[in-house]
């Protein structure tokens, strides 16, 4: 078990929102709300990065694609940990989508959404620019009902 001291408030927020979702799927309403309360506390205490630009994301993404995912994948393959390999396969694909969206944004700027809206797959994080809800997620194969439109 990894110790909590190594987790940032942002990571603790993600741990709690993940557990809230797991409770919601089990129809455990009270536990769902309690984990959300914790998530809100940690989100509020997340470090704020002021005055940043989306350009800066590209560099961080590249480090993930070149190093972080690769290291994780090697370890998971050695251990035969297929659950982790599944998360990494989806995560890497979604991260590549982030990269291509940023490239399009760099070229088109505010015109990026002139011909469509942003839809996000709540199961894996895939983002589409589309004029209608995608029928199925190309990464995790979740159905249209798992997509949310980003306002």
């Amino acid at each position: 078990m990894t110790s909590l001291s190594s987790h940032s408030p942002g990571a603790l927020a993600a741990i709690c929102s993940n557990l809230a979702k797991a409770c919601e799927k089990q129809y455990r309403t009270e536990e769902f709300q309690l984990f959300n309360t914790l998530e809100q506390y940690f989100s509020k205490h997340m470090e704020q990065s002021v005055g940043k630009h989306l350009d800066e994301l590209t560099g961080l993404i590249q480090v993930d694609l070149n190093e972080t995912f690769v290291t994780c994948e090697q370890l998971a393959s050695e251990q035969g940990d297929r659950g982790t390999l599944r998360a990494l396969t989806w995560g890497k694909k979604v991260t590549s989508i982030h990269k291509s969206l940023l490239t399009r944004y760099a070229k088109q700027g505010e015109k990026l959404l002139d011909n469509g809206d942003l839809y996000i797959c709540e199961a894996c994080g895939f983002i589409a620019i589309s004029s209608e809800t995608p029928a199925m997620c190309p990464i995790c194969k979740a159905p249209a009902s798992r997509f949310s439109k980003v306002q």
């Binding site: 557990l19 797991a22 506390y41 995912f69 370890l75 940990d81 982790t84 979604v94």
Partner: protein, 159 residues
């Protein structure tokens, strides 16, 4: 084990009302009355023509603890995704229109990726030893006065 109804899949054919021996399936909220539901009965599960009813366990098998090297590697990825989420959230709150929408979508997407890292490293099942340990550690942490200690204690009671 009790039955739950997925309201999005339910086609209101109401065959569950015919088979339920206790009337647990007939409620004003549309959800099954868990208190009236008979443990493991599953008559409604099998009768439902739209496969909208399933059974939920009260206790789950303890998940396999992951190798510590994998947990560490997943934590590094988790922290990386969280810092990307922070960047995107801050851009979203300081911009408008397409930039705001894209930054919002990226923040939500990176959160989902971070959650998946947390899930695979040690936090898959809320009713697991690693989550109880996590909550116990939170209770002992010297957070500020605004930290919801009661929330953590209640979770430890429930899980």
């Amino acid at each position: 084990m009790h039955a739950v109804r997925n309201l999005r899949l339910c086609t209101k054919d109401c065959l569950c009302l015919f088979v339920c021996p206790t009337g647990a399936t007939d409620t004003e909220t549309g959800q099954i009355d868990f208190a009236k539901c008979i443990d493991g009965c599953r008559l409604c599960v099998d009768a439902c023509p739209s496969h909208a009813i399933s059974l939920i366990l009260e206790t789950y098998p303890e998940p396999k603890v992951k190798e510590s090297t994998i947990q560490k590697a997943l934590n590094i990825l988790l922290e990386s995704k969280v810092s990307q989420e922070q960047l995107c959230s801050s851009v979203a709150s300081n911009s408008e229109k397409a930039t705001k929408a894209l930054a919002t979508a990226l923040a939500r997407s990176t959160r989902i990726l971070a959650e998946d890292c947390a899930r695979e490293s040690a936090f898959m099942l809320p009713q697991s030893e690693s989550v109880r340990q996590f909550l116990a550690e939170l209770v002992d942490k010297p957070y500020g006065e605004d930290f919801p200690y009661d929330t953590v204690k209640r979770l430890l009671e429930l899980l």
